[in-house]
C-alpha cells in the first residue's frame, strides 16, 4: 500500500516537473531536452509527455517534436490568478465608487464566476462561499441564469439588437439582466446586480456589476440601478 502511494506521488511530482520545464523553457521545447533537464530516462519522459498531451495539459506543436502548455495548464493557471481588467474598466469602477457609497464590485463570468474587482472599502469577505455558492449573491444568480437568458434572447432576436446608451431603461426591464438577493452573503447584507453583456453577442453575459449594502437600505440600492446600467454599457467593450 505504502509503496503504491509513494509511486503515485512520484508520478504526480514527475508530471508537475515536466509541466514546469515546459513552462520555463517556453513553447517548442523537445522531449529530449525535457528528459535531460529532469534527469529522467527518455522512455519514462516520452510516456509522461504523451499522457500529458492526451489530457490536454500539454500540446504537441505542428512539427510534432516541440511541446507547449495546453488548455488544461492554461485553465489551471487562470483559475488561481485574479482576472486582469484593463485600466479603463478600473477607472469606471473608481468613478462609480466615488458616486455610490455602497460596495461596488465587478464580477466576470467564465467557466466559473470570479471576482475581478472588489470594493476595497466594502470588500466581499468570504470569497470562497461567494464563488462556490452562487445562490448567495445577486451576481451569482445572474451567473446561474446565464444559459437560460442566452436561450431567451436567441428566441427573441429583435430585443437582442445592440442598444443605444439612452435605452438603458429598456434593458433594465428585460428578464434575467437584473438580480437581487437578501441575506445570502451576510445576514444583514443585500445585493443587486446588473448583467454586463457581450458587446457583439448580446445573448452572452460576460460579467456583472454588483452593489452590496445593508438590507435596511435595500430600497436605496434600487435607486442606483440606472447609474449601474449606464456603467455596464461602458464596460461591455472592455470585458468582451
Amino acid at each position: 500500500m505504502a509503496a503504491g502511494d509513494s509511486n503515485a506521488s512520484s508520478a504526480a511530482e514527475r508530471a508537475i516537473a515536466v509541466l514546469e520545464v515546459v513552462g520555463r523553457e517556453g513553447p517548442g521545447v523537445t522531449a529530449k531536452t525535457i528528459a535531460a533537464s529532469l534527469a529522467m530516462s527518455p522512455a519514462a519522459a516520452y510516456r509522461l509527455l504523451n499522457s500529458l498531451v492526451a489530457t490536454a495539459y500539454l500540446v504537441r506543436l505542428p512539427d510534432l517534436s516541440g511541446f507547449a502548455l495546453g488548455r488544461g495548464s492554461v485553465e489551471l493557471a487562470t483559475a488561481i490568478s485574479p482576472p486582469l481588467i484593463c485600466a479603463a474598466a478600473r477607472r469606471i469602477m473608481d468613478d462609480l465608487r466615488s458616486e455610490i457609497r455602497f460596495g461596488v464590485h465587478l464580477v466576470t463570468f467564465g467557466s466559473a464566476m470570479r471576482l475581478a474587482d472588489t470594493d476595497p472599502d466594502n470588500p466581499i469577505r468570504d470569497i470562497v462561499s461567494f464563488v462556490r455558492q452562487p445562490t448567495t449573491s445577486a451576481a451569482g444568480k445572474l451567473f446561474l441564469n446565464r444559459e437560460q437568458s442566452a436561450k431567451r434572447t436567441t428566441q427573441a432576436p429583435l430585443r437582442a439588437e445592440p442598444q443605444p446608451p439612452n435605452a438603458a431603461t429598456t434593458i433594465t426591464n428585460q428578464p434575467g439582466q437584473v438580480a437581487r438577493e437578501q441575506g445570502g452573503l451576510r445576514p444583514d447584507i443585500s445585493s443587486v446586480a446588473i448583467a454586463v453583456l457581450h458587446s457583439e453577442r448580446q445573448n452572452v453575459t460576460v460579467g456583472a456589476l454588483m452593489l452590496t449594502g445593508p438590507t435596511t437600505r435595500a430600497q436605496l440600492l434600487e435607486t442606483f440601478i440606472p447609474t449601474l446600467q449606464s456603467a455596464t454599457l461602458r464596460l461591455q467593450p472592455l470585458l468582451s
Binding site: T33, N50, V59, G66, R71, V74, S111
Partner: protein
C-alpha cells in the same frame, strides 16, 4: 537546447475543419475497427481455411496471428499517440516517409479498403443466396437479382455513411454486436454439444511443424485486416490520443479471442465426430443443431459483411477526404458538409466506384464465391503492404521527432521482418494456388499506384508537398474560452 518554433505559428482553424471533431466515444470507434475486420465472417471461415490449406492447428495459428497483429498495433500506436490523423495509415506514412512513399502507402490503403468493400458485397450476395436456399426459396434471380441486391446494399451503406459519424458509427456498432452475438451463439452451441473429453485432442489437432504453422498464421492474419481503420477517425473521436491507441490494442484482442474460440469449437467438433471431414462451422451446426440454424449462420455472416462495407467505406472516405484537403486529389473530395460533418463528395465517389466495380465484375461472370476470394486476396495484400510500410516508418518517425527508444524500434524491426516474410509467402502460395489472377490483379494495381506516385513526383512535385496533413494543434487548443475546438 532547442527552441524550434513559436506558438504564434499555429493555425487558428483546424486543418480538417468541417468534420465533426472530437465527438465520437471509444465504444463507437472500437465498433468501427472491429467491424472492418469482420470477425463473424472470420469465425465461420478461418478454422476450415487454416486447416484445409496449411494443415496447421487453427487455434495456434489464430493465437500467433493475434500476437503479430498486436505488434503492428504497437507500431501504429506510436503515431496515434502523437498525431490526430484523418488519413490513418496513409497520413502516418506520409509524415515519416515523405510524400512519394506516403502516397504509395496510401494507395495500398485505398486498395485495401475499396477491395474489402467489393469482397464484402460479393460475400453478402453469396450468403444471402445460401440463406434463401436454406429457407427453401429457390434462387432463381440470376445475375440481375444479384446486381440489384448489390446496388441496394451499397446505396443503403452510402446513405448511412452520409449521416453524421455519431449516428452511422452507432448503427455500425449495433450491426456488429448482433452479427457477433449470432455467430458466437452458434460457436458456443457446437462446443457445448460435443463431449468435452475430446478437449485435448482438439488442442493437438493439426500439424505443429514450423512451415505449416507459419502459413497457418498468414491465413489467420488475413482475418484481422482492417483492424486499424479507426485511425482514420483520429480527428473525430473524443480524446484522440487515448481512444485511438486503445482501439488499436483492443481490436486484435477481441477479434483474436473470437477466432481462437471459434477454432476451439471447430476442433472439438472435429475431434468428437469421426465422420466429420472438416472443421466448418456450417457442417458442425448441421450435425449438432436443429435444421434452420444454417440460415442464422448465413445471415449472421452477411450482416458481418454489411458491417465491413460500412466501416471500410467510412475509412475510405476519410482517406479520400485527406487526399482532397492536401490538394493531391481534387479539392472537392476534401470538402465536408456543414450539416453533417461528412465528406459527401468522397462518400459518393468511393461508394460509386465500389458499386460499379462489383457490378461490372459480376456481369462479367465472376461468381459470388470467386469474387469474394479474388477481392479478399487483393485487399489482404494491400493491407499487408501498408502495414509493412508502417513498420518501416515507425523508427524513422520516432527518430525524426527525437523520441526513439528501443522497444518500439525493436518491435518495428520484428514486425517488418515478419510482415515481409508473410507477404512473400502469401504472394507465392496464392499465385501457385487458385488465386493467381488475384495476385496478378494486385501486382498490376500496385504497379499503377507506384508509377502514378512517381509521375507526380517528377511532373508535379508541388502537389505532393501537402502530403501528411493532420489535425494539428490550433490556437483553440491553447486558449480556454475560445470555441474553435469543434472546428
Amino acid at each position: 537546447m532547442t527552441r524550434a518554433t513559436q506558438t504564434s505559428g499555429l493555425r487558428s482553424i483546424s486543418a480538417v475543419a468541417g468534420l465533426r471533431r472530437r465527438g465520437l466515444p471509444f465504444p463507437k470507434a472500437l465498433g468501427q475497427s472491429i467491424a472492418a475486420a469482420a470477425p463473424s465472417a472470420g469465425m465461420a471461415s478461418v478454422p476450415i481455411i487454416v486447416l484445409a490449406q496449411s494443415g496447421a492447428n487453427p487455434m495456434v495459428s489464430c493465437a500467433a496471428a493475434t500476437v503479430l497483429v498486436l505488434l503492428i498495433a504497437y507500431c501504429l500506436g506510436q503515431f496515434a499517440k502523437r498525431m490526430a490523423a484523418t488519413g490513418g495509415v496513409y497520413s502516418y506514412a506520409a509524415r515519416s516517409l515523405g510524400g512519394t512513399a506516403g502516397l504509395i502507402t496510401g494507395w495500398f490503403v485505398v486498395l485495401g479498403y475499396a477491395s474489402i468493400c467489393i469482397a464484402s458485397l460479393f460475400g453478402i450476395v453469396r450468403f444471402v443466396e445460401e440463406a434463401m436456399t436454406g429457407l427453401g426459396v429457390s434462387v432463381g434471380w440470376g445475375a440481375v437479382g444479384a446486381v440489384l441486391l448489390v446496388v441496394a446494399v451499397a446505396t443503403g451503406a452510402a446513405a448511412l455513411i452520409m449521416r453524421e459519424i455519431k449516428f452511422s458509427a452507432g448503427v455500425l456498432l449495433v450491426v456488429e454486436v448482433i452479427s457477433i452475438a449470432v455467430i458466437s451463439a452458434l460457436v458456443l452451441l457446437v462446443a457445448l454439444r460435443t463431449p468435452p473429453e475430446n478437449f485435448t485432442s482438439a488442442l493437438t489437432l493439426g500439424a505443429v511443424d514450423p512451415a505449416s504453422l507459419t502459413y497457418g498464421t498468414v491465413l489467420a492474419a488475413a482475418a484481422f485486416v482492417g483492424f486499424e481503420s479507426s485511425t482514420t477517425l483520429g480527428a473525430e473521436v473524443r480524446s484522440t490520443f487515448r481512444t485511438i491507441p486503445r482501439t488499436l490494442v483492443w481490436t486484435p484482442i477481441v477479434v483474436g479471442f473470437l477466432l481462437v474460440s471459434s477454432s476451439l469449437s471447430s476442433g472439438l467438433y472435429l475431434a468428437s465426430n469421426s465422420s466429420a471431414t472438416s472443421p466448418a462451422l456450417l457442417d458442425a451446426i448441421a450435425v449438432v443443431g436443429p435444421t434452420g440454424l444454417s440460415v442464422a449462420l448465413h445471415l449472421g455472416v452477411a450482416l458481418s459483411f454489411f458491417g465491413c462495407v460500412l466501416a471500410s467505406g467510412t475509412a475510405l472516405t476519410r482517406v479520400l477526404f485527406t487526399l482532397g484537403r492536401e490538394g493531391i486529389l481534387p479539392v472537392a473530395l476534401g470538402h465536408a458538409r456543414s450539416s453533417s460533418g461528412v465528406p459527401a463528395t468522397a462518400v459518393v465517389t468511393a461508394m460509386s466506384v465500389i458499386t460499379a466495380t462489383t457490378v461490372v465484375a459480376m456481369t462479367a461472370g465472376l461468381s459470388p464465391n470467386t469474387g469474394l476470394t479474388v477481392f479478399l486476396t487483393i485487399a489482404t495484400l494491400g493491407y499487408l503492404c501498408s502495414y509493412l510500410a508502417i513498420a518501416v516508418a515507425t523508427p524513422l518517425f520516432l527518430r525524426r521527432i527525437g523520441e526513439v527508444t528501443w522497444p518500439p524500434a525493436a518491435a518495428a524491426v520484428i514486425t517488418a521482418v515478419a510482415l515481409g516474410y508473410l507477404l512473400v509467402q502469401t504472394l507465392w502460395t496464392e499465385s501457385s494456388g487458385g488465386s493467381f489472377s488475384a495476385v496478378l490483379g494486385f501486382l498490376f494495381l500496385a504497379g499503377f499506384g507506384i508509377v502514378a506516385a512517381g509521375c507526380l513526383r517528377v511532373f508535379a512535385p508541388t502537389r505532393l508537398s501537402g502530403a501528411g496533413l493532420y489535425d494539428e494543434v490550433t490556437l483553440a487548443d491553447l486558449m480556454p474560452g475560445t470555441t474553435g475546438m469543434r472546428g
